[in-house]
Amino acid sequence: MTAVGIETSGHDPALEPSSYGHEAAVGREAFERIERTWRSPAGFVGWFTQVNHSAIGLRFIVTAFVFFILSGLLGLAMRLQLAMPLNEMLSPEAYNQIMTVHGTAMMFLFAIPAMEGVAIYVAPLMVGARDMAFPRLNAFGYYVYLIGGSAFFLSLALGMAPDAGWFNYVPLANKTFSEGYGVDIWTTMITFIELSALTAAVELIVTIMKLRAPGMSLDRMPIFVWAVLVMSFMILFAMPSVMVASAFLMMDRLVDTQFFIVENGGSPLLWQHLFWFFGHPEVYIILVPALGIVTSIVVTFSGRPLFGYTALVLAITGIGMVSFGLWVHHMYTTGLPFMGRSFFMAASSMIAIPSGVQVYCWIATLWGGKVRFATPMLWVLAFFGVFIAGGLTGVMVASVPFDRQVHDSYFVVAHFHYVLMGGAVFPLMGAIYYWFPKATGRMLSERLGIGSCLTVFVGFNITFFPMHILGLQGMPRRVYTYVDGLGWGNMNLLATFGAFLLALGFALTLFNVVRSLRHGAVAPDNPWGGSTLEWATASPPLNCNFIQQPVVESRRPMWDWREAGSRTVVAGLSEDRRETMVTTLLDARPQSVMVLPGPTPWPFVSAVAASFGFIGLIFSPWFFPIGFFAVFATMVFWFWPRHPWRKK
């Protein structure tokens, strides 16, 4: 088959069987035995021992959206405060805390974990694995995220939240200028939560590289899986930078190191370099998996194979590579040599090429296909409308002289909301509508979905488009109010109005989700006629994902199977222990069988020990050794070598 495969006919989901006959495939007895082996324990105590990727992935997604709602409400509070000049609804103290928590939470507690959650839930299904490579580490990462995120939000409830901005520029974040525990909470909790991102990254990399279904060589991996792989590598190399930076800041505040104290040889710009060396790849860490989501939806709803598979892999890899060479464009105004800045001007505008390639590959895929405009596809169209605008302003701010005007103004606020909301939240909403039937076995209401998508799209543009103009009119970012007479009032009022419309749109989806969990139509195995393996299991997925692990012979196994009228599978995996195939890195030839561990409470205990150490670090450096050895002790129990399976 050619790389394009234009000839392949479209797929009508109405022709899909409602179930692929999972029980019939192996017989009732064997089916029940396998499902018992893979079942997650129920009950309150059982909850703390679950390790299945579908359970953990869902938890990541749900928790991330809870944080999304909370930070969204903070955003609304800020918009209310800014609705008119010299408004006094929020004090500057409150506003600065809210602003800091909104930014930090949207980035660290919502965007990354939500993307990881989708990746953890979908990627193993897509590669045809029965679970992830390190189920217990997965659970550990979740508890770390839950505890760290909750502690972070708790600080806002207690009125001691960080207030030096999500970027925590020193010297403002130093002990001298930010007293109290706010910034300490930021440094410790963020480092802690990064831990969860890093474990998820390692986990995803290994799962994708080693646990792919037999036959899924690298050139047959779905684009979404490629995107997750690139995202994970980016996390691997970007996060250490911010961990080092926040560790430096933590130590400056806790034990008087002098990293950022100018008088003693420290450098405030060191912080900015380290922070943005992480911070810029960060936005692409959020964007890249979203591009994968968009590709999945575009392929499914145009009903034909992707145009330019290799080009998309190249674009995603290229974005990953280029994103590490842009960080100085956040520092154009710090007085760096012009020649140095010119390198980053070039690199920043370079990102237009891979982005352009992707957009046009999608257009070529859609072109002339029998496109079905169901809600997931509508979210993707909204993504196009918003993200392209954000990308264009992104190319503008790459220009040094232009950026020196708009940097730290509302223009940039508009730009990055276009990129992040357009590039991450819209695809994420599409992902919810797309995979909700798979995850819950229920369809979401199309009507509510269309209403939600339209409201969000309109509300979003009313909120954020005026900010472009505000920024050019001289309104700086991170201000809790503005004096009258500068001509900013109308636009701000309009933006506030839009923000409520935006919130209403998201509320519709929330309502849709809650309602459909009970009353939604029952979903078949492959409701949209998708081509990838996650649709080969039941909806919701079986405990073991695949009663027989699939074998893959092209990029779109589901469509192949439909044509051939039969599936290709692995046989011979044990029924009474958790086994999954390990395949070779490149061509996914069967190599060995991995026996996965079952439910255990140790990840939870370990995460509690780690949080004890990290939260203690807010107050005293002695919690470092205490936490270190506490975690070590729990790890010994965790890793205590046991026979890979219980002897009969």
């Binding site: 390190f134 430096f248 060191l270 599936r567 290709t568 069988v593």
Partner: protein, 200 residues
Amino acid sequence: MKARVLVDASDIDRFAPHTHPLWWGILGAVAIEAAVVATLLTSYFYLAAQNPAWPPEGVAPPDLFWPTVVLVLLPLSSFTMWWAGKGSDRGDQRQLSIGVTASVTLAVLALVARSFQIAEFDASWNDHAYGSILWVITGFHYTHVVSAVSGTAVVAVLAWRGYFTPERQLGVVVDTVYWYFVAGVFLPIYLVLYIAPRLL
């Protein structure tokens, strides 16, 4: 839908320590740690470039004797670790136990040497950015040796109790990879912290 069996997994190896995903996982952890070390060393040079004198006036670069001792001890311990792994592959419990114990002993000696060297530092962490970065890089590596030693000590105890069968030697394999990293990463640290201030 009919199923066509293309792969029969019943005869495939269930114990494959050297291709086990955990081996790749540890490589991932090593990549993260390596990125941290690279960031720390870059920060060191950045701070050096921001200061007119590095180390600052009146501060001597750290003494070379103890770090060089560590530089000898750590690779030596890696060698014994490798030897222990060889034994484990052959199912030789005794060689495994002796090798692992020797590694732990050598690393503990390295820790002692490292402690002497830290006591000799001319700068405190709270005097100057130089002292801060010196202490942090040293502390980072020290902590890693401590964690490697603690982990390997558990492996040693288990080895003497005959816990590792050829099927269960995954722990040894993984511990070895991590050990190589902890030992190997001292070389760039040594070059930057002890040699660079003398050359620059």
